[in-house]
Amino acid sequence: MNKEVYQSNVTALLQRADSLHDRIGGSIHDDLVATIYRDAAEISAVAVNREGRRWSDFDQKVDRIVTSRIFGFPIMLALLTVVFWVTIKGANVPSEMLASGLFWLGDKLEFLLNAVHSPWWLTGFLVHGVYRGMAWVVAVMLPPMMIFFPLFTILEDLGYLPRVAFNLDRLFKTAGAHGKQALTMAMGFGCNAAGVTACRIIESPRERLIAILTNNFAPCNGRWPTLILVAGLFVAAPFPPAIAALAAAGSVVGVTLFGVFVMFVVSWVLSRTVLKGEASAFTLELPPYRKPQILKTLYTSLIDRTLLVLWRAVIMAAPAGGVCWLLGNITSGGQSLMAQAAGWLNPFGLALGLDGVILLAYIVAIPANEIIVPTILMAYMNAGMMVEMDSLAQMQALLVSHGWTIMTAVSLMLFSLLHNPCSTTIMAIYNETKSLKWTVIATLMPLALAFAICFAVAQVWRLLSGGL
């Protein structure tokens, strides 16, 4: 068929379709939908036979409590607290065992290298840098992940996450965002890159962009271990042992809630300034509660999440460990590069409630922010204080000796919660938005927010504790 004939035929068809559309009126879409619904009802009335309603009644009863206005939020908080409490409580002992085991192995490695007369700088770089970096990551991240991820996956398989989304839906609407953002947020609790990709389920480009820009405020697999670890080490410390873990868990819940709160505020601001518009309606399905397959969950969360996240962290930790060692051992003007850089960053870090070494560690760990705590530990150890570390108590002592207080811990948790998304997520944001502008905004906006909030918290904290 010749091209012009084709085009004129198409034009004729589309014009006729338009005029018919106008003749019938605006109800075509609704008519079609109603027809389909009616037909579906007729078919199922013939084919389906219901004997009882016991089970769906049970689901509904549970839902009425779990998503109720009164109990919905308390139940949500209680479940989260229990999950974190179990994680913090359970991770302690294996963490210490792993740490002492791996550092014992490190000593043997050093002994071996010395035996073959390896030069001191090679031994130092390999053992105190690369190996220790990896050992720290395994020791401090593996146990909490092995406990937290399966628990979280069980909540997911049970069908609880959509209920969380349901509870939060109203709040998202108020913020001018799409209710489905609650789902992409829940996805972000697993992995922000996945959460950003999941934003495709939001039809309106405006609301999708809001969801993409704010997904970072949902702490992800990479950041849970940092939050849990810092909470376990520091927030728990001043409390009596009986409730220490509970206090630590509570602080992680608090930080998580704060992240969700920031997500609301930023969504609200965006939807009233650069991304103006109304929130659109949608149907949120509450899936039936399903019995989680415990064994399968353990297996897949171990393979899919724990090992994946750990592997990524270990790979990133090896060069970071090496860099830390080099920075700590290359001197110029009688001072190591690390001491110089940390000293230079220190005033800035202190203003944020952190210190120079933490900021330096953050910069070294930029490719994978989940290794920030191990990097900090290495940085401190290389800063001259070569302590043998084989217990969490010693780890805490090291941090305290570098001037850490509860405020440092809280600031670090806030910083970890709010700062820029990881490189994988930034890539995902670019893939979804196809816009350099929005990718840059999505990267820098959280970082600026992290600086601003940490600064404000540190100033207020100092003011209050100074006044007391």
Binding site: Y6, N9, V10, A12, L13, L14, R16, A17, D18, L20, H21, R23, I24, I28, H29, D31, L32, V33, T35, I36, Y37, D39, A40, A41, I43, S44, V46, A47, V48, N49, R50, E51, G52, R53, R54, W55, S56, E156, D157, L158, G159, L161, P162, K180, L183, A186, T197, A198, R200, I201, I202, E203, L284, E285, P287, P288, R290, Q293, T300, D304
Partner: protein, 275 residues
Amino acid sequence: MSACGTCASGCGLRSALVRLGSRKSKPDYVIGLVGNPNTGKSTVFNTLTGLSQHTGNWSGKTVTLMEGSLEHESKKFNIVDLPGTYSLLSTAKDEEIARDFILFRRPDVTVIVVDATCLERNLNLVLQVLEITDRVVLCLNLMDEARRKGISINEKRLAQDLGVPVVPCAALQRIGMPELVQAVHGVACGRIKTAPRRFPVGRDILEAVEELLPLIERIAPGLPNARWIAMRLLDGDERIRSAFEKGEILRLVKGPDDFDGTSPRSYGQRRLVPA
């Protein structure tokens, strides 16, 4: 021309079913998996292909296409897991991916996975898919859950009413999977004939559709789903309009050579579907 999917017994065929994971190979048939969110599409997909794509008990888990393959009676089947969707009438990204795949990619068989515990709601999507393609197998999933809830379904009657094979399954327990593959193979190679139900439409729309049909026929002679296309045009569907304007619609007649939409890769040569 009655559907006989329910009599497809899987006896002796278990051994013939070889899961190939995601190994690349030229498929004999391409199979699309559609269904409402959270009906277990990904579980069916994993069970059929032996892959372990993460599944979750919530809507919107799958937003991209996943592809795997299996072999049955020495034929290779490529299976594509599509995002869950309630209907094909809106323009949300996940619905568009599923709709474009069924419409423009034209899989040899479309397997609709439905939740047996809420069949009625799921049938909305089924009826829409049946308008687009007649090569359909219905996977009546979560039969175990339905039984627990005291729901029983007359599969034979359902197959009769819909005009396509209906296979009761419980994918998690791997129940009904050999029968499903058997039915898919049957429809793919034409051994099982289907006569899909067309939902009745109101007089106004019917008349308008009949007015449009000759115009569509002039542009794309032999278009297999002309009735549905006409209804979409009446509804003002931008995607379909642009498919006409860009000449994309002709591919629905000739059979696609390559699908440049959302498919992760092209699948090689595909047979023409007799109009």
